[in-house]
Point group: C2
Chain length 452, copies 2
């Protein structure tokens, strides 16, 4: 790519605009977006002007919103109007969403009344809902037209639509009554009525449905696009498969970050300001540190206990970490299970019980191991028993927390991943040690060999 | 759904097969798959027989491989042949892959020679490569035909193809020279030659390319399907967008499980045998437990140190967990960054250095906090300094490990997520405590107030 960048730079210096145009025209918009990122905004704006209008819009759309914003300042008003007006309404809505109100207003004023209306419609829905991510550029058909007429309509309006592979059949009040794919239209006899070949068992989303739910439907039914309807079941837009792939990746990133005890970056961790990243990461670590300080306080309170049996301290790492490890396994599995709809309201209780059984067996296995190891190390049966009992009880507590919290958070409408791995580990550090010390205190007379 | 299950059971008992047929025929195949899962295999096989052939195959294809296997035993040979023969080659290949060699052989023998060849072709490629996940059911065109002829061909062969939305243009030796979408064909003048409207800048994958790379290309270029070529650039198959969505989810699950310190289940954690799950989870926890035992050993060795300054023990949780928390943040970010291609070979060094700088600042902030907290708690400046220094050094070590390990593993061709969160936490438990004790030993004379 570096070669390409140099060629472009040379051509720009030599002002060979026609050569540059010819060089850029046959490229893929996504490749051009990557290429343009190598140039500072003023030169980038210039490169945009060399592209044919449709290509320029496609390149602009495939830039992340942050870079779109950066570029806006370098565009001349006319160039700006051309690009923003021809963006698809969903991409435009997410750009306007991020802009300062004043700039957004100025941009909106450049649009034709129809485009402005389409954008405002999308902006009226909540973020992360079907209404917000849908596009209004779909093809609708009436059920009484013939296949030949439908194909004629597609030829007439198809160029401006986000997908022509599905057409949506509506009645006079715009109620969605069926879908017909371009495949079906092409394969059918031209004189057939659309009503005869359309699918009437339509899968759709409503405007206020969560985007994760939309992604789930598109994936489950292997769709290229999903129609979106309003409360009166009138067709208002469609969500296409390419947007869904991005959403699937976004949601997975969200879960991975949350399980890793990280805040979500506004755009990309690696492109965010380092100082902002540090501030947000600190904010997420601090509660855990405070919890660990409570933990330190417990240990501090137990100095008399540890001074009498100093080798109790040797098992603090084992007891503290085992609970955390089992807990983050369980919470990872449940968070992912909820995201993939493997865990549902119907089977949640059964899976929770199964997980507790698994935790009990895991704890028992580790407990036996702990007793053996502790005995081998210190030759004190009662210390060994303390370690073993603590491991079993902690395994049970941690599997319960790791499975129950995500379920509870889901029920309450929060992101189940919020009860992340590190949070569970930290909670288990505190509980685990408490359990350990309580058992040790109970068994202390025997540990010291002065038991009854 | 329970209602539907009861209706079906009643109809089966009353042997009203025609009513059942009418009930099932208009349903969506994915919904039927979920519905059929409620019945035991023999009844399920019976229900399959009531479906029209094409629908039966679609329902069968949308079942997970494990359930397909279970069902095979209940099918009559003729039913088996019909379904397996009409499955798409890629779905059939993944089914055959999981079957015992004897059963697979028997199934292959039921196929027509052409179908057998297509399946064997796919089975010849490595798992998780483009060759294995592609289908051979695509539409190819010659460049010299007209749009009208192309559409005629699509009408003739389209019903059996996995997608008709992209056609692939090949020369006489089957080399891929272009693509043309159904959208372009429908919108173009019927007399145009395909050569005039086809895209010649084709994005493709080679058969041995990793499926993650394939997913990345489809997503980056917003494609519905990606052509797959052999070493001589001859077209051999296509990968479609619906398979890619499943792969994206699978890869995300893999990373989430690995970061959570979990083995990958063969199929689904929640549907796997509990005993197997316990065994595999234990195997992943044991190395961490052994490491914690080393840790315990260190503490055991330091009893003299702790007996002189018992309140050093109070900061063990803080020191142990902080490194782990920062480390799992860093490794989550880098593992995800590598998966999303945000971290590349070109920017890896720069991002590693940036991460170290972030780690240093984080460590410094936490160190200052640690000093203040420890001093407030114990009023001993030297203990406080020990805690603060340990936090800074640990933050540096852990950001280095959390960022460098995934990069190194990627370079070595392993899954970067293998150096998972819990593994880093555990390593940091050991390193972190070692650092703490070493600093404490160094500063001990001052801690005890007998320094020079």
């Amino acid at each position: 790519m570096q070669e390409m960048v140099q060629t472009i730079e040379t051509l720009m210096q030599e002002q060979k605009w026609e050569d540059l145009k010819r060089l850029l025209a046959p490229k893929n918009p996504n490749d051009l977006a990557v290429l343009f990122a190598e140039f500072p905004p003023p030169e980038r704006a210039l490169l945009f002007r060399l592209l044919e209008k449709r290509l320029a819009v496609e390149v602009f759309e495939s830039l992340p919103v942050e870079e779109q914003q950066e570029l806006l300042g370098s565009f001349k008003t006319e160039q700006l109007r051309e690009i923003v007006e021809h963006m698809s309404p969903d991409d435009r809505a997410s750009l306007l969403d991020e802009l300062p109100a004043k700039v957004a207003k100025r941009l909106l004023s450049l649009l034709t009344p129809e485009e402005r209306q389409a954008t405002a419609l999308l902006l009226g829905y909540e973020e992360n809902t079907a209404g917000r991510i849908m596009t209004t550029e779909y093809i609708d058909l009436k059920s009484f037209v013939t296949v030949a007429d439908a194909l004629k309509k597609i030829r007439r309006v198809g160029l401006d639509k986000e997908t022509v592979y599905y057409c949506y059949v509506i009645d006079e009040s715009r109620h969605l009554i069926g879908t017909v794919s371009l495949r079906q239209l092409v394969l059918a006899d031209p004189d057939t009525k659309v009503a005869e070949i359309m699918e009437t068992d339509v899968i759709f989303a409503s405007t206020d449905e969560d985007q994760e739910e939309v992604a789930h439907k598109i994936q489950k039914y292997d769709l290229l696009a999903l129609p979106v309807v309003d409360r009166e079941k009138r067709l208002v837009g469609i969500v296409t498969h390419d947007d869904i792939m991005d959403i699937i990746q976004e949601e997975a990133t969200e879960d991975i970050y949350r399980l890793g005890g990280l805040p979500l970056p506004e755009y990309s961790y690696f492109k965010s300001q380092a100082l902002g990243v540090i501030g947000r990461r600190l904010l997420w670590i601090l509660p855990m540190i405070l919890a660990e300080n409570i933990n330190g306080y417990f240990i501090g309170q137990r100095t008399h206990l540890m001074q009498s049996v100093i080798y109790l301290a040797a098992f603090i790492p084992l007891v503290m970490s085992t609970g955390g490890n089992i807990g983050s396994q369980t919470s990872s599995v449940f968070v992912r299970g909820l995201a993939l709809r493997e865990v549902t309201t119907e089977n949640a209780w059964r899976l929770l019980l199964r997980e507790l059984a698994i935790g009990l067996v895991l704890g028992f296995a580790l407990g036996v191991f702990g007793v053996a190891w502790a005995y081998w190390l210190q030759h004190n049966f009662w210390v060994a028993l303390t370690v073993g009992l603590a491991l079993i009880i902690n395994a049970l507590i941690t599997t319960f927390l790791g499975a129950f919290w995500p379920l509870l958070f889901q029920r309450w409408g929060f992101d189940p991943a919020l009860v992340s791995g590190p949070l569970i580990s930290t909670a288990m550090d505190v509980f685990g040690l408490l359990v350990y010390f309580e058992i040790a205190t109970l068994l202390l007379p025997w540990v010291l060999g002065i038991g009854p």
